[in-house]
Amino acid sequence: MSTIPREEWDKYPDIEITLNVNGKDYRVKVKPYERLLDVLRYKLGFTGVKEGCGRGECGACVILMDGKLVPSCLVLAERANGSKILTVEGLAPEGKLHAIQKALLDTYAVQCGFCFPGVILAIKALLDRNPNPTDEEIKDALSGQLCRCGSYLRFIKAVKLAAQYIREGKEYFDESEVRR
């Protein structure tokens, strides 16, 4: 944790853990107080994991850990040992966009974009378990994702559009299909 003074950092032993991030295995040494957020972002370079509040309130840092949406700022790295992690980088194959990303673009939901990695993964978690959500279910599923630009109403449209794309069997889009 960042509250541990710098001179005490070395007092804690290193723990070697294995993480499967976006389908690739990584072995990484972590300290017992380190958050999964810091390991993913600073040690492994997955900068799609954003730090917003650092206390589980804003939803910018959420990732899918073993298929479950969790805030990476409140998960100690050591606890993630051996788990499968999906960040926004791993959502679609290289050079393609996922239906959720395409839908968010189509509905002009993106403004500053800082909350988006979290929003996209929250939508993914929702659509994975409920391919055809109602407005209420969308609102509940995204209730933890704070967007200070205020794109909330467009999120609802986007989720419905993404659900439609996936139902139609179009999960990934090429670059040429995406609005410029």
Binding site: G56, V70, P71, V75, R79, G144
Partner: protein, 265 residues
């Protein structure tokens, strides 16, 4: 530490100084379960809120209050790591799960090297973030007796928005009706005067055994509840507002339970 959604925040903001934290997560294999046997519901301390919400338990109309909790408990991603035992152990007044356990006559099982003991949840809290748990004990399980038929529960949290809210006032209630007579009733608020959730004993006593009517509830809310409840004023809401809100929400909760028992929602 259970899920860590509370403790890690406290450590990071410097409120709790911890040299050593014992993470119980590896015990999930043994301590994450929901069992219903011999008329008792037992929930392992490391069961996450979302596991509870996906279980069959909350589909039972008697535990509709737990389903209310599921809708209002923080955010979907916190529900994935927050645990039932952690919610009890955190001993925060605004603990949704604790309120439901209070009205369901919940019991907390504590384990230590020297054995186990079971504490009634009404006697579990000592103060804000203080419980009777000793340092060498862990919360292993919460349990309650299955509610009888003709009974139901409700939980209401009031805040400016629906999701992701702490709540100005929280109320949990359980009621058993028989021919419109209140056989049994249990009411819990986030605070009755102490900084931890408690039951509204006198209001319960007043309602018990009487016929369910608007008149009776009005009397309980205006004459009995204000006498035993002491609310505080802080930056979030004033004491008058909280007391007024408590009355309104209790009324709503009781009406909701009545309609649930009668087959509606």
């Amino acid at each position: 530490m259970g899920g860590g959604s509370d403790l890690l925040v406290l450590i990071r903001s410097g409120i709790v100084k911890a040299n050593t934290v014992l993470d119980l997560w590896p015990l999930r294999k043994e301590l994450a379960y929901i069992k219903r046997e011999k008329g008792t519901v037992r929930i392992g301390a490391l069961t996450t809120i979302s596991e509870l919400c996906e279980s069959d338990l909350i589909k039972d109309i008697r535990y509709a209050g737990l389903a209310d909790v599921c809708k209002k408990f923080s955010t979907p991603f916190i529900r994935n790591i927050a645990t039932v035992g952690g919610n009890v152990g955190a001993a925060h007044p605004l603990s949704d799960m604790v309120l439901m356990l209070l009205v369901l006559n919940g019991k907390v099982k504590l384990l230590s090297k020297n054995g186990k003991r079971v504490v009634d949840i009404t006697k579990f809290f000592k103060g804000k973030r203080q419980t009777v748990r000793n340092y060498d004990e862990i919360i292993a399980e919460v349990s309650f007796t299955e509610a009888p038929p003709n009974s139901s529960t409700a939980f209401i949290k009031f805040d400016r928005r629906w999701g992701h809210a702490m709540g100005y006032v929280l109320v949990g209630a359980y009621m058993q009706l028989h021919d419109n007579i209140i056989e049994d009733v249990r009411i819990a608020f986030d605070s009755m005067g102490n900084p931890y959730p408690e039951r509204a004993w006198k209001t319960e006593e007043f309602l018990k055994g009487n016929e369910f009517s608007d008149e009776l509830i009005k009397q309980a809310l205006n004459d009995v509840l204000p006498k035993e409840m002491k609310r505080i004023t802080d930056y979030r809401a004033s004491a008058e507002y909280r007391l007024d809100l408590s009355k309104v929400l209790l009324r709503r909760a009781l009406l909701k339970i009545k309609s649930r028992i009668e087959g509606g929602d």
